[in-house]
């Protein structure tokens, strides 16, 4: 499987996503430069964590205008797998690929810690290989991770089984404990926690592997 990792100038988890997919999972991974429009034949495009363009205005507000994002939007519309992690999730909501918005953590401080998550659905290419009922230990590291949307949108997300992950103990005030959501086509996922940081025992957890293994399984079926 081939992962494409988008590199915005202020991405800083691009290397982590690349390392997790290529080194820890043994698949192909390519960097995709933000001012290019070539997705280099990626089966899954990862929008990594970081501060895309400094994000002084609003997280992801400038990234949505970048050339690579127009290609990513087309790719998503054609059913391609798009995976936004942390800042990537913020960008996906900014450019309308996912509903809702990420606002400042309720405690108003940046939080870096390992949290526990549950997969709220296994019916997606991102969660199919996660054992039912399993709790995953995966880190978060964000200042603006409080998932917010209007009641109707939240009801809709739940009715359509599009909440992908929930926090066991809500760290940031996200409505309905939401840590990750899917688009209607179920081929776009955004999540605040960092599964790429939990792919080897040495750095604390391997629970993030299940997310990537889900993608790999979905991709091999599709092929």
């Amino acid at each position: 499987m081939r992962f494409g990792v988008v590199v915005f100038p202020g991405s800083n988890c691009d290397h982590d996503a690349w390392y997790a997919t290529s080194r820890n999972l043994g698949h192909d991974a390519e960097y995709l430069w933000h001012s290019d429009t070539d997705l280099k034949g990626s089966d899954c495009v990862i929008l990594p964590g970081g501060f895309s363009y400094g994000d002084y205005l609003r997280c992801g507000a400038i990234a949505k205008f970048s050339p690579i994002m127009s290609a990513v939007k087309r790719f998503a519309a054609e059913g391609g797998l798009v995976f936004g992690i942390c800042n990537g999730f913020q960008i996906l909501t900014e450019c309308g690929l996912l509903p809702g918005v990420l606002v400042r953590n309720r405690g108003l401080r940046f939080i870096c810690k390992e949290v526990r998550l549950t997969a709220a659905t296994r019916n997606s290419p991102f969660t199919n290989a996660i054992p039912a009922g399993a709790e995953l230990r995966i880190p978060i590291a964000h200042g603006e991770g409080c998932y917010t949307a209007d009641e109707r949108t939240l009801d809709e997300l739940e009715a359509e089984d599009r909440v992908a992950f929930r926090y066991v103990e809500n760290p940031n005030g996200s409505l309905r404990d939401i840590a990750g959501v899917l688009n209607a086509g179920r081929n776009v996922l955004g999540m605040m926690p960092h599964p790429e940081r939990a792919t080897e025992p040495l750095v604390g957890s391997t629970d993030g592997l299940a997310v990537f293994r889900s993608l790999i399984a979905a991709c091999s079926v599709a092929k």
């Binding site: 982590d16 964590g49 501060f51 870096c112 590291a141 809500n170 760290p171 792919t199 040495l202 604390g204």
Partner: protein, 741 residues
């Protein structure tokens, strides 16, 4: 051009003698721009004029040292073609004036020192000192400073993408008017990717890259001169504003530009900005640099040569490219959307020549400016100390209550509120993060990890700078031993008061000599560092506060950690209970938190014995025999045992057999002691026997209580949950902050 009068010279903090020296170097009177240039280069901060003489006593050589003090950062060879660059720097005064930006730009400055050498930063640590949060007069202000500093460090490091993997934080009244923010950074690179801050090859183009130059950070003292206000109507803020996104772009672009092979030398613009980078690069290369200020990207209009040369605007670099290959360099910076402008060239006459629209506005020999700053052998007497040696009568009524007091203290309580604001995992190298004895980052592409320990102890240093400094070195090395790492090099940040006071100068001299002796002994040479003097407010100096960062090497593997993992493990006290008397209790956390007094002397240390304890510990850890390993330091034996119970809630039952009185036995801070828990007692003891150090089996892990008894008499009996609750909530409640989101 303004006239240079004796008042103007004085306002630039140059003495009449120093001014005569300038005239001798130039062979004429300097103009105002030149005077400004000399004043910043010959400031204490840039020239180390009070400390240089004594810094020479530090050991700087060793088999792994690739680059010692004098460059932007020290470099050590870690094998397999890889090197590390690391250094510590202070940003104390700015952090007091504007905590958020002061601390943020402190992080920015040290990161540039690392990547200017070609290394990618992979770890940051911080040593922080504040006034007490409950101080009757300054408490509210201290709380604001803590919040601001932590947020500033988090803002810069998190956005830049470097993990803040550890540090320490201490509260003392002596830091009420003068907090300390010392930032350590470490980067990795291949041995053939090293770049130095030197300008070579006459005719090579000099390129300015990064942020535009503004009026920020121009030396406050210089601004005060009457002549100068003619041109600058108002006082400008002296604290710079940091832009971590810009810094991230700058790093990526610099590393990419270096890889083209078109870069010959590079240096960041830190303190003294364009002035420092041009003259130091020329001096190191045995050349000169000439630039035209009209070409310098500027954020404001109407800036004078004086202002441009002295600006400390952040996120700027100066680099020298090979003639004919400049376009390759410029292209890289264009890709990253950064300003990159050729502003001059290298010459071979050794002169730093500054033009403005073609007219020469400053012309100074680089080498004399950079390297022939005044050197002072300031008089020193006996180190300042105004507390008794004799111990007052002290006795605990309730040892458990005393232990809980330590748990609630700012110095020993859980610092999670601080470090959870730092992204300590980005780049997925963090094997061991904040809150442990030593932080560990692995070096991808190798089997090697770097362990780092940061330590300082102002209270003990105040009592005896020489002895305490040796103890600091020993403690850092012991921290490294607890994770199985071997010390290989040291960086130091010497935070002291006014060196013109002989009793303060004596603190500095004795501390340096103590560090020198111990670093030599532990084979951890000094590769660079920082000296921060004049840390005084209204004549009240801070406690002398050397901070040491020692790095060690280890094979990449998970370290034991400090929290007991399972019941029925033997707890072994390597090094024994130690010896201490009441005089040596004077600088302990017990004295501070329980008796509220300071007296006496630091504990004695036998360096040979310490080394054997460390060697035994390291061998036990590397052999995988220790489930936990934790050194005994502040708070003593009882506190080290308590810390082992927190993370997993596994308690311990300890029976000691010692003649020491209970307060001393539980809380003395004598060195050369490590606690391990193990399922292999016999093997652990065999290793200790071989190293000729005692290994006392003092109890077992288990239950939900910590109990400590001596010769059958119960000293401490506390539920783990009770002490853990106090420990984990103390800092947030002292800051009146929510513990959870």
């Amino acid at each position: 051009m303004n006239e240079v009068t004796p008042e103007v010279v004085q306002a630039h903090q140059l003495t009449p003698d120093e001014y005569q020296r300038i005239i001798a170097i130039l062979g004429r009177e300097p103009n105002l721009t030149e005077l400004g240039i000399f004043s910043v280069m010959w400031s204490e901060h840039c020239s180390y004029k009070s400390s240089r003489l004594h810094l020479k006593k530090l050991p700087t050589k060793g088999p792994r040292v690739v680059c010692g003090p004098g460059e932007n950062a020290g470099i050590l060879d870690i094998g397999d073609g890889w090197c590390i660059a690391f250094k510590i720097e202070s940003h104390n005064h700015p952090s007091f004036i504007e905590p958020f930006q002061g601390a943020a730009t402190g992080v920015g400055g040290i990161l540039r020192d690392i990547f200017t050498m070609g290394a990618r930063p992979i770890a940051v640590m911080d040593a922080l000192r504040f006034g007490p949060l409950d101080d009757a007069q300054c408490g509210a202000r201290n709380q604001r400073i803590v919040s601001g500093v932590v947020e500033g460090i988090a803002h810069y490091g998190n956005c830049f993408g470097v993990p803040t993997v550890g540090g320490e934080c201490v509260f003392e009244p002596s830091y009420n008017g003068n907090p300390l923010v010392n930032v350590f950074a470490l980067g990795v690179f291949k041995r053939d990717q090293i770049f130095y801050g030197q300008a070579t090859g006459a005719g090579n183009p000099v390129i300015y890259v990064g942020a535009k130059t503004g009026r920020d950070g121009i030396h406050g003292a210089s601004m005060a001169s009457a002549e100068f206000t003619e041109e600058s109507k108002q006082k400008r803020p002296n604290v710079q504003v940091g832009d971590p996104f810009m810094e991230k772009l700058l790093m990526e672009a610099c590393i990419e530009a270096m890889a083209t092979g078109a870069v010959s030398g590079i240096q960041d613009m830190g303190a003294a900005g364009l002035t420092c980078s041009t003259c130091e690069m020329g001096s190191r290369g045995g050349t000169g640099i000439e630039i035209d200020l009209a070409l310098v990207p500027q954020r404001e209009t109407g800036m004078t040569p004086y202002e441009i040369m002295l600006s400390e605007s952040q996120e700027r670099m100066l680099l020298v490219a090979y003639k004919g290959r400049e376009q390759e360099v410029l292209n890289v910076f264009k890709k990253w959307g950064l300003d990159a402008v050729i502003i001059g060239r290298v010459n071979d006459d050794g002169m730093m020549r500054v033009r403005n629209h073609g007219t020469v506005v400053a012309e100074i020999p680089s080498r004399q400016l950079a390297d022939e700053a005044p050197l002072y052998n300031r008089p020193y007497t006996k180190p300042l100390r105004e507390v008794p040696v004799e111990a007052p009568a002290f006795a605990s009524k309730n040892l458990k209550a005393d232990l809980l007091k330590l748990a609630a203290s700012g110095d020993l309580c859980d610092k999670r509120w601080i470090w959870e604001q730092y992204d300590y995992m980005v780049r997925t190298n963090t094997v061991s993060g904040p809150g442990l004895d030593a932080a560990i980052v692995r070096v991808k592409g190798t089997e090697t990890s770097i362990a780092m320990a940061l330590d300082g102890n102002g209270r003990q240093t105040y009592l005896d700078p020489r002895l305490s400094s040796k103890l600091l070195v020993a403690e850092c090395c012991r921290n490294l031993a607890c994770v199985g790492a071997e010390p290989i090099g040291t960086t130091n940040n010497l935070n002291f008061g006014n060196p013109e006071r002989p009793e303060i100068m004596a603190q500095l001299v004795e501390s340096i000599e103590g560090i020198a002796e111990a670093c030599e002994f532990f084979e951890a040479p000094i590769t660079g560092g920082n000296v921060s003097l004049y840390n005084e407010t209204l004549g009240e100096p801070i406690f002398p506060s050397p901070v040491l960062g020692i790095v060690g090497l280890m094979k990449t593997t998970l370290p034991p950690g400090i929290a007991y993992r399972a019941a029925e493990r033997d707890i072994v006290l390597i090094g024994g209970v130690g010896t201490a008397n009441n005089v040596e209790m004077g600088g302990t956390q017990y004295a501070k938190q329980v008796t509220g007094q300071l007296w006496g002397l630091p504990p004695r240390i036998d360096l040979e014995f310490e080394k054997r304890v460390q060697a035994a510990t390291r061998e036990i850890v590397i052999a995988g025999l220790a489930e936990t390993a934790h050194d005994i330091s502040q708070g003593g034996l009882a506190w080290a045992l308590a810390e082992g119970t927190f993370a997993n809630g596994v308690g311990a039952a300890i029976q000691l057999d010692s003649e020491l009185g209970p307060e001393v036995l539980l809380f003395h801070e004598g060195p050369s002691r490590v606690i391990v828990s193990t399922a292999n007692l016999a093997k652990v003891q065999a290793i200790c026997d071989r190293h000729n150090v005692p290994a006392l089996a003092i109890g077992k892990t288990g239950s939900d209580r910590l109990t400590i008894a001596n010769r059958g008499q119960s000293l401490i009996d506390v539920r783990v949950s009770e002490i853990r609750e106090i420990w984990s909530t103390a800092l947030a409640s002292a800051l009146h902050a929510e513990t959870h989101a």
